[in-house]
């Protein structure tokens, strides 16, 4: 044993290490478990679950862009009932911390999903995806409206005793204002960032490369933006942050932790290297040894500006 302690805390949620796998990039765990040992991972965030199953968008849903990819999956998921019946049994056995991500098209749906799923022992915390169209507001995203994000946070907080993490959209002018509101409404932590809105065209047909016209940009291309958002929150709001965006290796993970993240989530990298989580965990241990610290948590928000 190296004697290095990788444990971190996100509010009251204890993680054996700061490396989580991001929503929408691990499914419900079963497929990726063929390529990696999930029991070593700090935590798994499920694909966004909605009350009813969602079919998702028609093809083409994804396209590669320079250093990243655009996706418009359309929140395709099995719905709460099927999730409980066929996905939770597997997640119970993996011996990692399961965080359930919830998507909805109304405040009531967020609350209802949380109320049902909080009964499941396998779920240790909730991550709320507010980058979803609000049907009552003409399809505008909740995540762009501070008061909507505040309302969702307060209502979900009232529906569960488990830690609540609000996943913030980067497509806003001041992300720290959103972090302030969710903190005042009782959230335990924020995760940042979700994908950035982007598009790409085929110059011969003059049509967008993805059917939905725009999609969410992820991957290494977004890392500098994500880091700046994490730093902005860290400098302005006292709330635990989970850093997300373009992490490909342990150096990237360290950078996020220095910028203020208490933990990180890996997204797009899972598609390219499904064992990246474990490689990054090993890299974090080596980093601690190299800089002579015993606990990884010492580097959180250790920026020297």
């Amino acid at each position: 044993m190296s004697g290095i302690n990788l444990k971190v805390k996100i509010g009251s949620l204890e993680l054996k290490n700061p490396v989580l796998l991001a929503s929408g990039t691990v499914g419900y765990g079963n497929e990726i478990s063929q390529f990696t040992d999930l029991s070593k991972i700090g935590g798994i965030v499920t694909k966004s679950i909605s009350l009813k199953p969602r079919k998702g968008n028609p093809p083409q849903r994804i396209v590669e862009t320079h250093g990243g990819m655009l996706n418009a999956i359309g929140l395709a998921n099995v719905g709460v009932e099927e999730f409980i019946n066929s996905k939770i049994p597997f997640l119970k056995e993996v011996n990692s911390t399961v965080i359930c991500n919830i998507a909805a098209s109304s405040v009531e749906e967020y609350v209802e999903c949380t109320r049902i799923l909080t009964e499941e022992d396998a779920i240790k915390a909730f991550e709320i995806n507010v980058s979803c169209p609000n049907v009552k507001d003409g399809g505008l995203e909740f995540g762009h409206n501070p008061s909507a994000v505040g309302t969702i946070t307060g209502r979900v907080r009232g529906a569960t005793n488990k830690p609540v993490i609000i996943k913030l959209s980067p497509n806003v002018s001041r992300i720290s204002d959103f972090a302030k509101i969710v903190k005042s409404e009782g959230a335990d932590a924020v995760s940042a960032i979700n994908t950035l809105v982007g598009t790409a065209f085929n110059i011969w047909t003059k049509k967008p490369k993805i059917k939905n016209i725009t999609g969410g940009l992820s991957g290494p291309a977004i890392k500098p933006v994500a880091l700046a958002k994490v730093l902005e929150i860290s400098r302005n709001v006292d709330i635990p942050i989970i850093g997300i965006g373009g992490i490909m290796n342990w150096q990237d993970a360290v950078e996020f932790m220095i910028a203020g993240a208490a933990a990180v989530e890996l997204g797009t990298v899972n598609f390219v290297n499904p064992n990246a989580g474990i490689e990054i965990i090993n890299g974090l241990t080596e980093y601690c040894e190299k800089i002579n610290i015993k606990e990884i948590k010492e580097i959180i928000a250790s920026y020297q500006l």
Binding site: V26, E31, F35, Q60, R61, I73, T268, F271, V272
Partner: protein, 251 residues
Amino acid sequence: MLTEIAEVVTVKKYGSNTNLIKVHAPGIASKAEPGQFCNIKVSETNFPLLRRPFSICEVKGEHLFFMFDIQGEGTSILGCKKKGDKLNILGPLGNGFNTGIEFDTAVIVAGGIGAAPFPFLLSRLKKKKVICLVGGRSEAQIITYGMKNIYISTDDGSNGFKGTVVQLAERIKDKFTGGKVQFFACGPNAMLKALKQFCMENNFSCQVSTESAMACGFGICQGCPMPAANEEKYYLVCKDGPVFNAKDIIL
């Protein structure tokens, strides 16, 4: 399914734009079935970022073969590989052709680079009667590697029948005899769609190998939907396919 660091043995040009790469990948080779594919990282850097999917063309002992056309950046890099280079390969992925069913005659229909999965499939059909229909835009796109009992069509008539490969099938359909006939097809979606129509009209069972943009290749990104014919849902090309029974999907 596993990830394997495979050493490149040879890269050979075949025709004007087609390449055949041979790699040493004993783990994947021992598990692969015809019609399955691999997701290949063509560089060691983050550019290009995603893996590229390729059908398993042939398996010989501990070696895998992939046949590919140069399309864009990923395939250009792959075409420049040299003996001794290493490739990170994820595979074997997806559901291949179902040869466990009862049939006596296999009709292979390949459009352009859609010929790729058939050498491997034919190596498993040695006891069956086989007819191969191979189509392309013109002579340069005709790939007959590993095929036998071949009929050719080109859109411009530069080789064989002038027209599409499905029109060719219509023309020679009296040859599709000899017990129960099973079609196996791979090529552009428009070709598969026309072939599905032909097979429905003539009551032939048809398996098609389909394509979609992909990120992961093993079911976690939901990036590769294929509309189901009988249900309000999407299959995933990477996990439920790439080979489907033509009647189960909307092409």
